[in-house]
Symmetry: C2
């Protein structure tokens, strides 16, 4: 069985400013290792899939960076969205392209900006999922929760499917409040939806046809141009007309043939600077350090400096301090989500060159 | 009456790192205005004294900066200490030099790194002090306390001297604990010792002869060389032998002919970054800002950025954030005194080029 990895790299997040910029979103940052997240995403598939097997869906502004960072991905497998849409059009586009080459081929949909600590366990889960996918299921890889997280969607597990790891789905659950998140954690019946999906190209296209017929019509029109010179023009014409909707909401939550494969592979979506201690090693005081960071009586901080400039942080706890070279950020970990306010302020103050 | 201002610029403080460095101590920083503190110190004397009347006592490493910043001070009035000593030798040196030119001349001893908000009130206090000095008193300008400060020495006022502002001294008091500082503030009988002194050259030399005979012998030996080519050599030979002691402890606390002139001229010794709100205007949220500072939901902070690099500070209170260009500091205001630990750490980590 051949797996076609589809790396979704459409993100333009602002939560890692000043490290991230419009031209350098989170997936291009070396947050989990010395390599950009998107490169780790491709490399951790080996030997289950090769980098040259990967497809990448990304925006225009980021195509050059994708090609530079992943030179082994053939140019024809870098699918450039003419405009930003949500995950359903991005995944549909990849499925339409792959279906022309390998209609029954199995796609593994992989966010480009997540971290996985245990790559062998991750590949095992993917292989398990591919087994269900080959039999016609829409498979979601899910993660056993390790804390009462209120920032993620959950999946309530249904009956187990025979001896394998797969489960039916009882329900998709929106982001819960803390009390419910605590119950989910204690109950053992809910898992995190990690945004990692495995299905055959024809399976997902059928599901799109059933649940998102407008998207399906656009993809059908595109399919006629795949592999031809007319493809780029057709993509530029058709893609902007596709509905802006997520694959979760538009398809998976409505489909019947869903299987969930829960696993534990040290997953993090690296949602903000506050998540870096999940993915990087810390010093004895729990500080994640980079560059010429000088923590003095500092605890639980994220201090990422430049290599040539001392970044001294004295007598604070749970603070994020980032020197990106041309901009500096200070923010409590608990308010790391509010970094986007800086991006707004820069726009308002005519400092767009720092966005 | 001619006043000879003597600006004491021997400080090599580390509490303003990373703005201050060994080669650029606090007195050379524009902390109170757009001008370095030492320049403000000279300019605020006008018209009571001219900049060209000033003497400056400083260390070897800082003489060039003094001459550059205060070009109107004649070269012969920049007195360069061959080694760092305390204030008694520095003041004694100035007195010995000035006594050769104007034995009964009045010296005004001025720390180079303090801030004065109300210059006319300051000059009035200096003029009042000079009146007592001319009659043979050792005069200390003192400041009515505005808070229960535990970081300063206090002077307990004695009887008032006739109709003028001068008081006798009941006692010099070391830095008090908070309870005593609160009593001093409430009682109205204690004032801050601001380190500003006024006396005739011959008066202070007599007091030194009485209380610090070892220093007096050195100064006598130096006096023979003042105005001669042999002065620099004599200074280099004699100065290192002088006792390392402050004028307060060595002379003033022992002398009988002390007069204190209390006043209120918006004084601050700008003791650390935490003191900047005393000397610079703040925004509506109490933040003192510089350069491209971007406070967002920040209160009571000191945020000094570079003009070309955004310094975004989100969701914090009472924090000091300084981007000095080649080094960055983050520290709570309440721990601003601990900045010296950074200087220690830089030394220990072979980063001496940032000292």
């Amino acid at each position: 069985m051949k797996i076609h990895p589809v790396i979704i790299a459409g993100g333009s997040g602002t939560r890692f400013w000043p490290l991230s910029r419009k031209s350098r979103p989170k997936q291009f940052l070396p947050l989990g290792s010395s390599r950009p997240l998107i490169v780790d995403t491709a490399l951790r598939l080996q030997p289950l899939a090769r980098v040259s097997d990967c497809y990448v869906v990304c925006g225009k502004a980021h195509a050059a960076a994708v090609r530079r960072l992943l030179p082994k991905v053939p140019a024809s497998q870098v699918l450039v969205e003419p405009v930003a849409r949500n995950t359903a059009p991005a995944i549909g586009l990849a499925a339409a392209v792959i279906a022309q080459r390998d209609p029954g081929g199995v796609l593994a949909i992989l966010p480009s900006d997540h971290h996985v600590a245990n790559a062998p366990a991750f590949r095992q889960a993917l292989a398990d999922a591919a087994g269900y996918a080959q039999q016609g299921a829409l498979v979601a890889l899910a993660v056993a929760p390790t804390r009462a997280e209120t920032g993620y969607g959950y999946v309530q597990l249904g009956a187990r499917l025979g001896p394998g790891p797969g489960h039916r789905v009882r329900a998709f659950v929106e982001k819960p409040d803390l009390a419910r998140a605590k119950r989910y954690l204690a109950g053992g019946k809910h898992v995190w939806n990690a945004g990692i999906f495995v299905f055959r190209a024809d399976t997902i296209l059928s599901a799109i046809a059933l649940h998102l017929p407008e998207l399906a019509r656009g993809l059908d029109a595109l399919a006629a141009h795949v592999g031809k010179r007319s493809f780029a023009g057709a993509l530029a014409r058709i893609f902007p007309t596709l509905p802006n909707i997520s694959i979760d909401y538009g398809v998976l939550e409505k489909a019947k043939n869903i299987v969930v494969v829960p696993s534990a592979f040290g997953w993090s979506d690296v949602g903000s600077f506050a998540a870096l201690p999940e993915v990087r090693s810390a010093d004895d005081a729990g500080n994640v350090l980079g560059g010429l960071a000088l923590p003095i009586d500092a605890q639980g901080c994220v201090i990422l400096g430049q290599t040539h400039r001392p970044l001294a942080v004295v007598g604070v706890r749970e603070l994020v301090v980032i020197d990106a070279g041309d901009a500096v950020l200070v923010c409590p970990k608990s308010k790391a989500q509010e970094v986007r306010k800086v991006v707004d302020a820069l726009g308002a103050r005519n400092l767009k060159r720092f966005l």
